[in-house]
């Protein structure tokens, strides 16, 4: 059976070159990077190379890169870390209402310990307007966190403009770039951000490793305490193979960025066009142009998302409805509700997300299979009236 993976925003296949780079560090080069002997030195050199690769990818210096266990920990470190470090200066944090739970739940936690959080609304395409941010800034705002690109609908934000607003009011700016990495240029200077989160497994790197960029001089406290690794910000024996893997993944993302983007753009547009042409009442969620090159998110009136995912799965196509994280419950995605979709359309959303490993055959196969499935569900749906 065909196996077509269109759920690359949930996780990606590890690039064979990444696996190859990691392998020796499970095998003979198993040293602890903090050890004095040559096993340790070998490991430390690998960590330094990984750190340089990530730094180059971000246009940062190696000492501004801190390794974490993933996007979630990076987001937590940025938010908890800066909130606590600046708590004498203010207790107000601003974020958007369409952030990933790694940001939203951290904010909810911070609210329980004395911080105030403003959740900015977005327009119907999922964009945060700089004027909305401007209006929310207060004297006590120490941190603004707005994601570079949304994981469900793929809408991208003008981070540079938003960061400028934050800075004008003396706040620091964090962006969750977990989804934009490898799909948009990520230069911390042009973005103008103070902190930026990455996750390895979203860019053909391994799971369980992430990175946080922290501009030099940014006040920040650890979330996890211990032996003082990562210059005291994130203790624990360095995950050497993971660091080697995410380093290589960043290097590949950096090298092939332009090619990757144009390939994904082409596949995305073909997918949207193919679906719109063959399925009546298919609505594209998110922004028509300011969207990730790898994201297609559509709703089909009268169709329930999970049933559709199951049908696609039976045909060998892996897709998702809402984000992987919220797919455990059948509640409609907070992102789709935030952009104004009604509950039924939100529950009927289909997310197809691409990577450089997809092909035009994958797209053709999906366009061939999907219309009959939608038709079948509509035919059995009490919500669907043929016009």
């Amino acid at each position: 059976m065909n196996r077509v993976y269109l759920d690359n925003s949930a996780t990606t296949a590890v690039d064979p070159r990444v696996i190859e780079a990691m392998m020796p560090y499970f095998g003979e080069r198993y040293g602890n990077a903090s050890s004095l002997h040559s096993f340790g030195h070998e490991a430390l050199e690998a960590v330094s190379i990984g750190r340089k690769q990530v730094a180059t990818f971000l246009g940062a210096t190696p000492k501004e890169v801190y390794f974490t266990a993933g996007g979630t920990e990076s987001d937590n470190m940025a938010l908890q870390g800066v909130a606590y470090a600046r708590k004498e200066e203010g207790n107000h944090i601003i974020t958007s209402s369409i952030e990933h739970p790694a940001v939203l739940e951290t904010c909810a936690f911070l609210e329980t310990v004395g911080f105030e959080v403003t959740y900015l609304p977005v327009d119907t395409t999922g964009r945060v307007l700089p004027s909305t941010l401007e209006a929310a800034m207060t004297e006590r705002t120490t941190l603004v966190s707005i994601m570079h690109a949304n994981n469900e609908i793929g809408t991208t934000q003008d981070i540079r403009d938003l960061a400028r607003v934050a800075h004008d009011h003396g706040a620091l700016f964090h962006t969750d770039a977990v989804q934009s990495a490898g799909k948009l240029p990520l230069d911390v200077e042009s973005l103008g951000v103070d902190l930026l989160s990455l996750s390895g497994h979203k860019i053909h790197g391994p799971k369980g490793i992430g990175a946080l960029y922290v501009r030099e001089g940014t006040p920040i406290k650890p979330v996890v305490y211990g032996g003082g690794h990562e210059r005291g910000l994130r203790s624990s024996t360095e995950n050497v193979p993971g660091i080697v893997g995410v380093g290589m993944a960043c290097e590949l993302a950096h090298t092939y960025l332009d090619v990757d983007i144009s390939l994904m753009n082409q596949m995305r547009d073909a997918l949207i066009e193919g679906i719109s042409d063959t399925i009546p009442q298919a609505v594209l969620n998110g922004h028509p142009t300011e969207r990730l090159c790898n994201n297609v998110n559509m709703s089909f009136a009268g169709v329930e998302g999970e049933a559709l995912i199951l049908s696609l799965d039976r045909a060998g196509i892996a897709a998702s409805t809402g984000s992987a994280c919220s797919s455990k419950t059948s509640k409609a995605s907070h992102v789709l509700l935030a952009i104004g979709l009604d509950q039924a359309l939100a529950l009927g959303s289909l997310r197809l997300t691409l990577s450089r490993m997809n092909t035009m055959e994958d797209i053709a196969y999906t366009i061939e299979k999907l219309p009959a499935m939608v038709a079948r569900f509509r035919a059995m749906s009490p919500l669907w009236k043929e016009e």
Binding site: V303, S330, A332, M380, S381
Partner: protein, 124 residues
């Protein structure tokens, strides 16, 4: 979480029995709504206190489709009293089990059926 459905569930999901409407149904009942995530409409035709025909339409997940299909199959031809004994537990067992998180979906059809019968009896 992954779909942990057995072959029976998948078979009913892919080839649901008794899907559709009955134009001259004796009673039509809908439970759920898109806001709950699941919705089911049952069409029932009765004859001599027996379920002569039953059809359904549903907006719901795979488990909802499969258990609704099986439910209609189980009750068709039975007397109303017999059919009312086809509870969610009976359906889940007959289909060979459901993942815990999906058990609630099997309530849809028995609930709709019970309500439909109450409505029908009230009308009489």
């Amino acid at each position: 979480m992954g779909f942990e459905f057995n072959e029976n569930v998948i078979e009913h999901f892919e080839n649901p029995r008794n899907v559709g409407e009955i134009p001259d149904a004796d009673v039509i009942e809908t439970v759920g709504s898109p806001v709950c995530g699941d919705m089911l409409t049952l069409y029932i035709k009765l004859k001599d206190d027996k379920i002569e025909d039953i059809k359904f339409k549903t907006y719901g997940c795979g488990a909802a489709i499969a258990t609704s299909s099986l439910f209609t199959e189980l009750v068709k031809g039975k007397t109303v009293e017999e059919a009312l004994k086809v509870t969610s537990d009976v359906v889940v067992e007959a289909i060979g089990g459901l993942p815990e998180k999906k058990v609630h979906c099997s309530l849809l059809a028995p609930d709709a059926f019970k309500q439909a019968i109450e409505k029908y009896r009230a009308k009489q």
